[in-house]
């Protein structure tokens, strides 16, 4: 019995990695401003930014889920 198997390797393009890098930087910036706004005792600004973070994370997850098998 042969144990041979074939592995398909797909290399992600630099554009895709750049997109994920921007997404990640976006997370950092939103988190910083959300925490900063809370420190500034600006609850509405902090809330908007936390909601923005949730949307940003969700968008990233959706994109990752849609593209993970491509």
């Amino acid at each position: 019995m042969s144990d041979k198997m074939t592995i398909a390797i797909r290399k992600r393009s630099w554009i895709e990695w750049s997109g994920w890098a921007i997404w990640f930087v976006g997370i950092l910036l939103i988190v910083q401003n959300a925490i900063g706004s809370a420190q500034e005792l600006e609850p509405r600004a902090a809330l908007i930014l936390w909601v923005s973070l949730a949307v940003w994370l969700l968008a990233g997850l959706v994109v990752w889920f849609v593209r993970k098998d491509r």
Partner: protein
């Protein structure tokens, strides 16, 4: 096989780094402000005159963003103002002034009885706590002079003089310090008459003197120190209440202290240092501050600084020690004011201008003609203070989009973007509203806040060189 594993690990690593990075950013942001700025640990000035590092979007310019017609400008009689002296009575009559004062006194008592937020007994007690130590034109004159020590007076280059004065004044509590040299034009910014009615006379005398009728300024005292003292944004956002307005009084009190210490410091070097004889005496503070590059004029018709917005009081001193002078700045503030108008919309007495462009036309004798500005109606403003607020107002300061702390990086991005691309100003104004900035906060809540000294962040203007 190896490639496949590496690919999987790469994705995991990426997510792990993302998580660690987000965590690191969160921890860095939570850290106390005094621990995150290297400058606050004693970084050295890189400028020979000790100028602080301004944000990159603050441009030094030859002419201020407020147009000035020096041919029209005259030395101002400060007794024409509406806050002190007979100015207000001259505009509305003594009877009306008495009526306003009676209304203020009645409201003050009733609000204490009713426990109105920000007007309670403890708020009023705090507002009256800042006992004035005393301003002085000539200074305390207690420190020994070099002559008294048997030493020659201090000598150095103008840059060195600026540097040590800046260092001393920042140590005394000044937020920012700038210098200008008086010439035939800028001398018009020194009052002709001080708030107490004394004439302000330039003289060839070597030493400054003061009589019952006049203050004599030696022509050699031609260098102006302009400096700001921070107010507490967190406190001012409770305005208009006695609780909020006391941050103004506290800043004036600290300004007095800085003035006296600077006068003694300069005296100790062997030079003269002439100060304000009362609050906002001697000269037109915002004008000198604009020329010294501390900020720009604004729709408030007050100074707005790049670092603290309008949350400062402005002071000045005259010295005969030659210093390195500064230039005006353009940080896009005046341009922003053209499109924002948030202060004018928030002003309950409608005392601020809604015009898009500044004008040469003054509103009354409380304005000094000769510069293009957003002149305010100081009479309706003052009447609101006494009749409705029962205290200084400050709403225009509190709602200003430049009145922000610096914990969230977005404020710096907005100020930089607005400075470089004024077309974005209207959008930023809209977002300022959407994010809830400028909304009045609870005065009662203030008593439970763990605020830093004086309610201010003294590291806000400190940047690494």
């Amino acid at each position: 096989m190896a490639d496949k594993r590496n690919l999987k690990l790469g994705r995991r690593d990426f997510l792990r780094v993302a998580g660690l990075g987000a965590g690191a950013a969160a921890v860095a942001t939570i850290a106390k402000p005094t621990t995150v700025k290297a400058g606050s640990q004693g970084a050295k000035f890189t400028d020979p005159a000790g100028r602080v590092n301004r944000p990159w979007w603050v441009r030094t310019v030859d002419q201020p963003t407020t147009e000035i017609d020096w041919n029209v400008m005259q030395r101002y009689n400060e007794r024409m103002g509406t806050v002190r002296g007979p100015g207000m009575a001259g505009y509305v009559g003594q009877e009306e002034v008495d009526r306003l004062e009676a209304a203020a006194a009645k409201n003050e008592l009733q609000r204490m009885i009713d426990n109105v937020d920000g007007y309670t007994l403890k708020d009023q007690a705090l507002a009256e706590a800042h006992v004035a130590l005393g301003w002085s034109f000539l200074g305390p004159q207690k420190a020994p002079t070099p002559e008294e020590r048997g030493m020659p007076k201090w000598t150095g280059t103008p840059e060195e003089a600026s540097k040590i004065i800046r260092a001393a004044m920042r140590h005394f509590g000044a937020a920012t310090v700038g210098f200008i040299e008086l010439d035939e034009n800028t001398r018009k910014l020194i009052y002709a008459v001080d708030p107490d009615g004394k004439d302000m006379i330039f003289t060839d005398d070597a030493v400054a003197t003061e009589t019952d009728d006049a203050r004599y300024i030696p022509n050699s005292c031609k260098y102006v120190i302009s400096y700001t003292v921070q107010m507490s944004q967190e406190t001012m956002r409770r305005c208009p209440t006695p609780l909020a307005q006391q941050t103004t009084q506290l800043a004036y009190k600290r300004g007095q202290d800085i003035q006296a210490s600077t006068q003694e410091f300069v005296r100790g070097l062997g030079y003269q240092c002439l100060g304000e004889s009362s609050t906002n005496a001697l000269a037109i503070s915002p004008a000198l501050a604009v020329l010294a590059g501390l900020g720009e004029m604004s729709r408030l018709n007050r100074l707005i600084t790049p670092e603290f917005g309008p949350m400062v009081r402005v002071f000045h001193l005259l010295i005969d020690l030659p210093v390195a002078v500064d230039k005006p700045i353009d940080a896009g503030i005046m341009e922003f004011c053209k499109r924002c108008k948030k202060c004018a919309e928030a002003c309950p007495s409608e005392s601020l201008s809604f015009e898009t462009e500044p004008t040469w036309e003054t509103q009354g004798g409380w304005n000094n003609p000769g510069h293009k500005a957003y002149f305010e109606n100081a009479v309706t403003c003052r009447a609101y203070w006494r009749e409705v607020a029962g205290t200084n107002c400050g709403i225009c300061f509190a709602v200003c989009p430049f009145a922000k702390k610096d914990k969230a990086w977005v404020h710096e991005w907005v100020k930089a973007s607005g400075s470089m691309v004024p077309a974005l100003d209207s959008f930023f104004r809209t977002m300022d509203d959407a994010f809830g900035y400028g909304v009045q906060a609870s005065a009662e809540e203030w008593w439970g806040l763990d605020l830093p000294e004086f309610g201010i962040d003294t590291t806000m203007s400190v940047r690494e060189g």
